[in-house]
């Protein structure tokens, strides 16, 4: 009897703690519970979610569906991005197709077929002139959105290109890969400036701060590396953190240039602030995490998961 009672108490205790933590989260209604690609608009008022083959854009305030982009993909979308002026939306996925959508008309402006592999990451440059995308076939491509053609093919990686980004000033572009390397190229001459090989496993994601002085990378080796790129040729690791036996799949920088976060397949998210760190447990693999822009000193983040769709978390409910 005593054993049964203590067991019941134990269950109640855990269930109560679990229900308390749930109040920090709110989710978006998606058809698929496995979401890979999410993207905020520049002002953070809308969130684009790659819901299987469709892209849904929700208002972050009312959580209402604002727009839906259908019919462009025949397989799951893995990555989405919105241009800074909110006129273009780009998506790429398992069907090896990149679609450039006009946000106003919701039509596909151009569809690009990648013959080298599935599209893992897409990114539009800050000035809206270029589109950078990476694929499982070890290549990354630079596409000119005005000329509407691929202007450069980057072939230095020997593994799947997992993530691509532009620097804030648009002068450099970064590619992360399964070959454990992060390559930095100059946009003007497309020259490989440096190849950073500090990771010991797949590099899964990279994110750069607004100032362009630091970027953060993460990977399957459980490492999260904060890089100082004040001198891009001599990039150095400023801070290292290591979580054994876990794949860190996503990182992002907040617009204050100091705060960043990381999320992994262990369902844990850590927000690293100058004053304190926040921890969130989602209990489902985390595929992508993005800070909501324009929140000032407050922290809100959207989390794309495998199993719980997209969740929005608010730091005021989180434990430090």
């Amino acid at each position: 009897m005593k054993v049964l009672f203590s067991s019941l108490m134990f269950i109640c205790f855990i269930a109560f703690g679990y229900s308390q933590k749930r109040s920090a989260y709110s989710s978006y209604p998606t058809e698929s519970k496995v979401i890979y690609g999410i993207c905020f608009t520049l002002n953070g008022e809308a969130l684009a979610i790659a819901d299987n083959k469709t892209i849904k854009v929700y208002s972050t305030n009312s959580k209402e569906l604002i727009a839906e982009f259908k019919g462009g993909h025949s397989n799951q979308i893995l990555s989405v991005d919105i241009s800074k002026d909110s006129t273009l939306l780009v998506s790429g996925g398992k069907d090896s197709v990149i679609n450039i959508w006009d946000i106003n008309s919701k039509n596909v402006l151009q569809s690009i077929k990648c013959h080298k592999g599935k599209i893992t990451s897409v990114k539009i440059s800050t000035d809206g002139q270029y589109l950078l995308y990476g694929c499982t076939g070890n290549f990354a491509y630079l596409f000119d959105l005005k000329l509407r053609k691929v202007i450069m093919e980057f072939t230095d990686h020997t593994g799947t290109v997992t993530s691509v980004i532009f620097s804030s000033d648009g002068k450099f572009l970064f590619t992360a890969s399964a070959d454990k390397a992060i390559n930095i190229y100059g946009v003007e001459d497309y020259r490989l400036l440096t190849s950073l090989k500090q990771h010991k496993g797949w590099v899964r994601d990279i994110a750069i701060n607004k100032e362009g002085t630091r970027f953060v990378s993460c990977g399957d080796d459980g490492r999260t590396l904060l890089w100082n790129i004040s001198d891009i040729q001599n990039a150095s690791v400023e801070k290292k953190s290591f979580l054994p036996f876990s794949w860190i799949t996503t990182v992002d920088f907040k617009d204050d240039n100091l705060t960043y976060l990381k999320g992994g397949f262990n369902g844990k998210i850590k927000i690293i602030c100058p004053m304190a760190n926040y921890r969130v447990r989602i209990r489902k693999p985390v595929n992508k995490v993005l800070f909501k822009p324009c929140e000032g000193i407050f922290i809100k983040a959207a989390i794309a998961t495998s199993g719980k769709g997209v969740i929005l978390i608010d730091s005021k409910y989180l434990s430090i």
Partner: protein, 235 residues
């Protein structure tokens, strides 16, 4: 009292696995290592064998105390097919067959090695098959059966000295095995597995009349995921 002592740690362990963050860490695997404890081993077949109008007791069917272990490595080549190798050690003692005393105090140790071909359900990111896997295995098996008589079975008198127990015999065999079972991942790196296995082996020995032995057993084991399929995100 003993059952209560086991119940509480078992409950805590179950709750730990259920509520721990490891719940999220399930990734398609490429290479697994298994360790099984074999239980409910049963040698099937007649207890008495007929040969040239003589009746002899069967060695294998008479054992009532049996236990075994097996070790297996599996590599996943395709979504539904894995292959690997299995090594098994099974021991049996406590022979009994009516009033026959031929193999009383006999012990056998069966060591076998088998190339394994496993057909299984595919990994899925968000369903039962995210954690679970059902499988069917078929394999040829090769090995030897090591028989020991601790008591005196024969008495051989030579010119100079008397040779007596223990007698030992190593008899090679070949055969086939099959199993059906289920795997359940508890964490990204660790899981448990249960299977029902059956097999038949053929051999020849000068110490007993059995020319084959058939058996069935339940395998209860644990597995470690060594390599994981990093490409599964893009599949």
């Amino acid at each position: 009292m003993k059952s209560k002592k086991i119940f509480l740690p078992a409950l805590i362990l179950c709750l730990y696995f259920h509520f721990s963050s490891s719940k999220a860490q399930l990734i398609d695997n490429k290479l697994n290592i298994y360790i099984y404890k074999e239980e409910f081993i049963q040698f099937n077949g007649d207890k008495l064998l007929k040969e040239n109008n003589f009746i002899f007791p069967s060695l294998y069917s008479g054992f009532y105390s049996k236990s075994g272990y097996s070790f297996k490595i599996l590599y996943k080549s395709f979504k539904n097919i894995s292959w690997g190798i299995e090594s098994e050690y099974l021991k049996a003692s406590g022979w009994e067959c009516g009033n026959y005393l031929e193999f009383k105090d006999a012990k056998i140790g069966i060591t076998s090695i088998s190339p394994v071909f496993q057909f299984h359900t595919g990994f899925s990111k968000n369903s039962f098959f995210k954690r679970g896997k059902m499988f069917l295995e078929v394999m040829p098996s090769f090995g030897y059966s090591h028989l020991t008589f601790s008591g005196q079975f024969f008495e051989v008198k030579s010119i100079k000295e008397k040779i007596s127990a223990p007698f030992k015999s190593n008899d090679p065999f070949y055969g086939y095995k099959g199993s059906v079972g289920i795997e359940w991942s508890l964490t990204q790196h660790f899981g448990s597995s249960v299977s029902y296995a059956f097999g038949q082996s053929f051999l020849k020995s000068s110490f007993y009349c059995d020319t084959q032995f058939a058996y069935s057993q339940i395998n209860i084991g644990l597995f470690l995921k060594i390599f994981q399929d990093k490409y599964y995100l893009y599949q």
